[in-house]
């Protein structure tokens, strides 16, 4: 794992509090599961119909009837329950999931998220992402701050098709952490070793700095 990615994940796991029900998106967010400290007791939800995802199974205990939303074989933890897809999204859309951590392609300064489609490339579909961003109580997006061409993914406004409008509560990149409030996008943390100058250069979006809340 790259250093930047590791930094993002280490910061993201701190968003998870004891007693929460959490949905971790497919891909990078799924990696957070293994990093949750033992003393933080959470129920991970999988939108294909499971609350209480456990570890990956030992090779002898693989069950094709037991997968997560990323279609990986998993196990259940004590207290788990199964349900159908309508019930699963009732749970999500009804505001019963405390936190969803999702990957992003672009986030705008107004909290718009684009994470499902790149025009011109083959469309794969939005899966449950559009439901999660509208339904979960808190939406945390984790992504690289810039793309491989060095362009900012933290935009004034998204250029890619949206997953949701003004839905992001918190953005975590390898450079910084932002909150989205009524006043706008607010820098709340700089990642270790990142200077404000570097951040400003790498960020297309306008953001507020409340020095009181910032551990620089």
């Amino acid at each position: 794992m790259s250093n930047g990615r590791e930094r993002i994940l280490q910061r993201a796991v701190k968003e998870i509090e004891d007693g929460m029900c959490v949905n971790l998106g497919i891909g990078m967010p799924t990696l957070i599961a293994d990093m949750i400290p033992d003393e933080v007791d959470v129920m991970l939800q999988s939108e294909n119909g499971l609350l209480g995802i456990g570890n990956y199974p030992h090779a002898d205990h693989v069950d094709p009837d037991l997968i997560n939303a990323g279609k990986e074989t998993v196990t259940t933890k004590t207290g788990a329950s199964f349900f159908d897809s309508a019930e699963s999204f009732a749970m999500i859309r009804g505001g019963h999931i405390d936190l969803a951590i999702l990957g992003g392609m672009e986030v705008s300064e107004t909290g718009d998220l684009a994470n499902w489609m790149i025009p011109g490339k083959m469309v794969k579909g939005m899966g449950g992402a559009m439901d999660l961003v509208q339904g979960a109580k808190r939406i945390v997006v984790i992504m690289d701050h810039v793309n491989k061409h060095g362009e900012s993914k933290v935009k004034k406004s998204c250029t890619l098709p949206l997953t949701g409008e003004a839905v992001v509560h918190c953005l975590i990149t390898e450079m910084a952490v932002f909150h989205f409030t009524d006043h706008g996008m607010e820098l709340v943390e700089l990642q270790e070793g990142v200077t404000m100058e570097e951040l400003k250069v790498a960020t297309e979006a306008d953001f507020i700095v409340k020095s009181s809340s910032l551990n620089v």
Binding site: H58, K71, F89, G127
Partner: protein
């Protein structure tokens, strides 16, 4: 009053060219593999399929794609299939992408006699284009319509002769709602149990939704992403 059939051929024969079918399963988990294979064998074309995914190359609904039986696909995620990509890009295959929760709710609504409902999912995105918008308590929602199809293809774990169904683990997924959304619902199961052997409190789907039950054998249950851990 037993709903048990000893072969799928006769039941699937009712599916004619141009029919619409709702199909259970998530990825390759809990898919009605025997029904799909029977439909492939039968060769029925111009189908409209509602299913969360469209299988993979050479398995699940991918078999029907490969065989050019599907005209239109309504799904939330279709990223695992090269044949799909080819047919979509060539314009052979019509695709409607639907957020997963909206797809699930549309199936449930269709089965429950609800023609339409409002949801926040998709507001401000391409999904909302052309859809009716409405505000409730200051928040924007879009209207989505229920789905009822000619047929429902369902995979359950156990059934009794009344068509009462029990599902297993995450193979439940879309199956119970799909079962409600077909005018004719055909179910394949791993185990057929005798009348009275299912506890009425543990039944996931009541037999009222089910027209035919078939006991399949030698389920392949392919795994898309085998992921294991060395810790137990």
């Amino acid at each position: 009053m037993s709903k048990v059939i000893s072969s799928l051929a006769e039941a699937v024969l009712k599916v004619r060219d141009g029919a619409s079918i709702v199909v259970g399963g998530f990825g390759l988990c809990g898919i009605p593999e025997k029904l799909i294979m029977q439909l492939k064998e039968q060769g029925t074309t111009d189908l409209t399929i509602y299913s969360n995914n469209c299988g993979v190359d050479e398995w699940g609904l991918g078999l029907l794609l490969e065989n050019k039986q599907i005209k239109k696909m309504v799904a939330s995620y279709v990223g695992e299939n090269k044949v799909f990509e080819q047919q979509f890009l060539s314009g052979e295959l019509e695709v409607e992408l639907c957020p997963q929760g909206t797809l699930a709710e549309r199936l449930r609504a269709g089965g429950a006699g609800i023609p339409a409902f409002y949801t926040a999912t998709g507001v401000g995105t391409e999904v909302a284009q052309g859809k009716e918008h409405k505000e409730f308590n200051g928040k924007k929602y879009i209207m989505e319509e229920g789905i009822v199809a000619d047929f429902a293809f369902v995979k359950a774990w156990k059934a009794d002769p009344f068509g009462n169904l029990v599902f297993r683990k995450t193979a439940r997924n879309f199956n119970p709602i799909v079962a409600t959304a077909g005018k004719i619902t055909i179910v394949e199961v791993e185990e057929l149990v005798g009348a009275g052997e299912l506890d009425p409190d543990e039944i996931h789907t009541a037999g009222v939704y089910v027209q035919h039950v078939y006991a399949g054998q030698n389920y392949e249950k392919r795994i898309e992403r085998l992921t294991t851990s060395k810790e137990a």
